[in-house]
Subunit: 327 residues, 2 copies
């Protein structure tokens, strides 16, 4: 058997997002054999949506070159709110109208495979743990930096799901209790209100309004001022953009230290769009952590970027299927 | 067999503190059959100390009325720093000179029983989970409020020990990243720097110096101004003392919310000397949490005082022995 010949058993992972569904077949080692993406059409409601999930899964199996009966089990990652043990979506803000939906069993019936539901951020963390930057570890924390700050935690090889399927919602830990910024969730002082891509852009607008410092960011039309644009300006040497990126790295370090003093993981990972900021940004995060964390923990815990990018969700969902139904 | 007749198997728990060693025999249900306390004599060094641990254990078995060979296994709770997997104390600040000590194996050799080492705060959390306010749950967070803020986490029926035996060090989560108070550990903005008994007394001194408000606290000599005195003054209606207690309840709620959004436990417990503050203090904590936590989590998570008091450590240590060696 060649190193590149697919090795059974095989698991199908499906990552449900508000806009797109990603899916792929993953072999027992964690290597993906296919990767497809179709539109969720969330606004057409859950009946169409669940059929689209099944369709994405079928396409992924087709693309992998495997036969349907070679698939051992299916893992589905989805945004919450949810009840993991019952396989239900409850009231997911990103999937309006998909309320009180027994999504796991509906999908299992369509695909005729053992199926497990997992929170999408948890699934991504499990993907990195199984087959990404966290392989060969037993515990990790993954922060996914995008519109919000997603988070998933693996402790002793298991996902922290929590009693109400709200484990690892660490975008919403409180890092600033006095005069904290308002978070998208409505509460104050949360990590996400400081360190998400959205928060970065907001802080940029504030700083540009407050300060008269020269900055290339002023030449960018307000609606085009993205986290990527700020990052590129920082790379090009713009002082104000650099300050914004350094502050972001500090906020993330504060969040990471709280998690390191809570979970004490082998590795803390940062993923999502903002890791395009590259090695300086990561190095800044590391240096802040080094100053703030307990020396033993700081010394022993790796701080890295995630490796699986947009595939982490479906790879991790397949990994959850493997953990639940494999061997 | 009567309900009060001891039921095998039996486990010996030993709780090592800087000043005292507590020990007791615990039956399979979690009910303690004995409870003894002797001096640690930590300053006489680890050779005497380990003999004292063994002696406390022997006394506890004697007091229980059981025979030595009825004890199935031993659990030892100790302050860190430690390496749990190797059963070693590393450099425990509360046990000066007990460095690089293979305490688990030394004790096992003296007692000739299978022996497990656990962090003392983790052991207390496990005690509450097994036999205290957290029984019939699968996950809990225990904050122990004393000189510092101790913490232990149970998630899915297991202690979060962490990679460097630093799991659940949640006295040292960052709740205030800007202009945070200095913690005993040297870092800034930690929960412990706001919410420990020590921090409460420090804040009282500051407030008395800053404000000219009338307060019964002014009549207490500085060295007698304890957390208990502040609590009693609050109970008696003193405005300044009430403010201090309310602020403390807020800080604890902030810490609890961060843990609830990370672990999403069945129950959050508060233990230690400060729970003498009674039901108003607990109710204040609850109300702050209710305002700050995700509604689903806030609704579903109980907030209670711990039940086992000073026995939590040895009961939990015995529970760890049961989990490791039982059945």
């Amino acid at each position: 058997m060649s190193a590149f010949e697919p090795r059974p058993p095989f698991y199908l992972g499906i990552d449900l997002g508000g806009t797109n569904i990603k899916s792929g077949v993953v072999e027992d080692s964690g290597r993906p054999l296919s990767s497809v993406s179709i539109e969720t059409q969330a606004d057409l409601g859950p009946v169409v949506g669940v059929e689209n999930l099944a369709e994405a899964g079928r396409l992924a199996v087709q693309q992998s070159g495997l036969k349907w009966d070679q698939i051992a089990a299916v893992g589905l990652g989805s945004p919450g709110t949810m009840d993991l043990s019952r396989g239900m979506l409850l009231e997911p803000p990103n999937l309006p109208g998909w309320n009180q939906l027994p999504i796991r069993d509906l999908l299992a019936a369509k695909l005729d495979k053992p199926t497990i539901l997992q929170n999408d951020a948890n699934a991504a963390a499990f993907g990195e743990y199984w087959a990404g930057a966290g392989r060969n570890t037993r515990s990790l924390v993954l922060f996914t930096l995008g519109t919000g700050v997603g988070c998933g935690i693996i402790s002793d090889e298991r996902i922290i799901e929590g009693r109400h399927s709200h484990g690892g919602e660490c975008g919403h830990i409180i890092i600033q209790m006095e005069n904290g910024r308002r978070c998208a969730c409505g509460a104050y002082g949360h990590l996400e209100a400081y360190a998400s891509a959205t928060a970065l852009v907001k802080r940029a607008h504030e700083l540009l309004a407050e300060q008269s410092t020269r900055s290339s960011l002023r030449e960018i039309p307000a609606e085009e001022l993205t986290s990527r644009a700020i990052n590129e300006a920082a790379d090009a040497g713009d002082g104000l953009a650099r300050r914004l990126m350094r502050e972001t790295s500090y906020y993330l370090a504060v969040g990471a230290v709280t998690l390191m003093h809570t979970i004490d993981p082998d590795i803390v990972l940062f993923g999502g769009g903002m890791i395009a900021a590259g090695s300086t940004f990561l190095e800044d995060i590391r240096q802040h952590i080094q100053k703030m964390a307990f020396p033993t923990v700081a010394k022993g815990c790796k701080i890295e970027y995630a490796e699986l990018g947009g595939d982490a969700g479906f790879i991790g969902a397949a990994g959850c299927a493997r953990a639940a139904f494999g061997r």
